[in-house]
Amino acid sequence: MNNNDKLYNLYLQLEPTIAELEEARKSALIVPVLLGAVVCLLFTYNLLSWILKGTSHFSIFTLIFWLPLFSLLAFVIFQLVFTICYYFSSPKEKYEKAFKETIISSLIENLLIDSPQYFPEEFLDFFTIKNSCIWKEFNNYSRSKSNYRFDRGIYWLKDHNGVRSGLTPHIYYDGSDLISGKNFKCSQLHISPGSGLSNYTFKSLFIIIDLPKNTNTAFGTSNNISDNKILLDNPEFNELFPVYAEDITEAFYILPSNLLERMVNFVHKTGRKFDFSVVDDKFYIAIPIPWGDGERQLLEPPLFKSLFDYSIYEEYLADLDLILGIVEDLKLA
């Protein structure tokens, strides 16, 4: 049975749960929609009255003149009120949590090889990411955990008294969707280094794979690891990935020719260029994921689509294929 058939069977099994979640989705939308509509109506009514007060002759032309502006303002106000209400409403949080704990968990446990574990609200530790040396923005931060305090998604550098200071550099570090497999871990991350550094902000799918080979080398796509740029024996790979390494032979050992080819194929297949590094016995991969307005987020529950729309589950399967496909494609696990 292939994954698409498995998905369909799973969908049928989950239908009762989907029905409950569909109700939760609608209730999460009701308050923000109503509140948005009421505020929008009140605002436009008041604005209209104010304009009419100053106009001696009301005519249809006056209305036509103001209509585009009214529509635009009404739309903006509705959006604003809806967004504020939705993002701070507890039904939304409950809906998202329940969706991930039931639907996404089931998809991961039933459709992926070796049934990895899924923790919707957890994410990879900052210090593990720092050890990857992929981002030089973290170089200025201490390697010691004791120098930091993690509070509300931000790592604060402690001062002498162990209390955070507003002037010390801090890192906004948040994430979700930790998947822990037999010899890999991955999660989504949202990182912004704080004051005193660049304003570089990124959202990334970060994967850590245990290498099946014994090595204690370090190399990768960042010149944070070494200044020595090397060329591997695949010209296409060299065009896509600059590799910096001190020990060229170890880099060739960890990256055999077929792995180079698979990495190139992955970029062609997904259109996503990624960063990677190898530090000691770990292979780190950071794939930038879109997070702008209108972009679909990985593994996030739908808001304006019915949960009975089967295509959304196919999209989740594609998301999971992307994540686990990397581990499978690279044949590292």
């Binding site: 080979k213 014994n214 090397i230 060329l231 591997l232 024996d233 060229i248 032979t249 170890e250 880099a251 060739f252 050992y253 055999p256 020719s257």
Partner: protein, 189 residues
Amino acid sequence: MASIIILSIIAIIFLSWIIGIYNNLIAKKNQVENTFSSIDVYLKNRFDLIPNLVAVAKQAVKSETKFIEKAISLRNQVSNPDLSMDDKIHLDNQASQLFTRFFALSESYPQMQSISLFKEIQSNLAEIEDRISAARRAFNSAITQYNNAVEMFPSNIIALLIGFKVKEWFEASEGERQNVNVDNLFEAE
């Protein structure tokens, strides 16, 4: 005066450019030597497995006298400290054939596989083979970059002046490229 300054600036720029090309060539030559020394290290690791192979063969396949004699002879040859790189490569090809024959024998004599040293040889050899293959690729990649620099203009002029010549690739021996007929191994010798 102004023309002297301009000429001096041009001379300095030209000299810096020449020095840059020269340093680049030296870096590439060193890269070739470094990667070659890696191959040497891993070849030595593979030679180091031969005494274990002899021990296993003596214990389990006493009747294969020709094989044991060949293995002992190879072990004695590789223990010579004055081997040139060509000698080492030649002996490495023979070692490849020896190990192929060794694993073929283990299928005919299953008792070999129960000896703990056999498993050790098997796992060590797999890693060493991987590392030799990686070192060869690294060496060939370094050679390509070096040869490109030696042959391409304008670095070829500097290469010619300092006596740098195109180097040979490290290629798998004819024996390694062919599918080995294990029954005929050593028969021709």
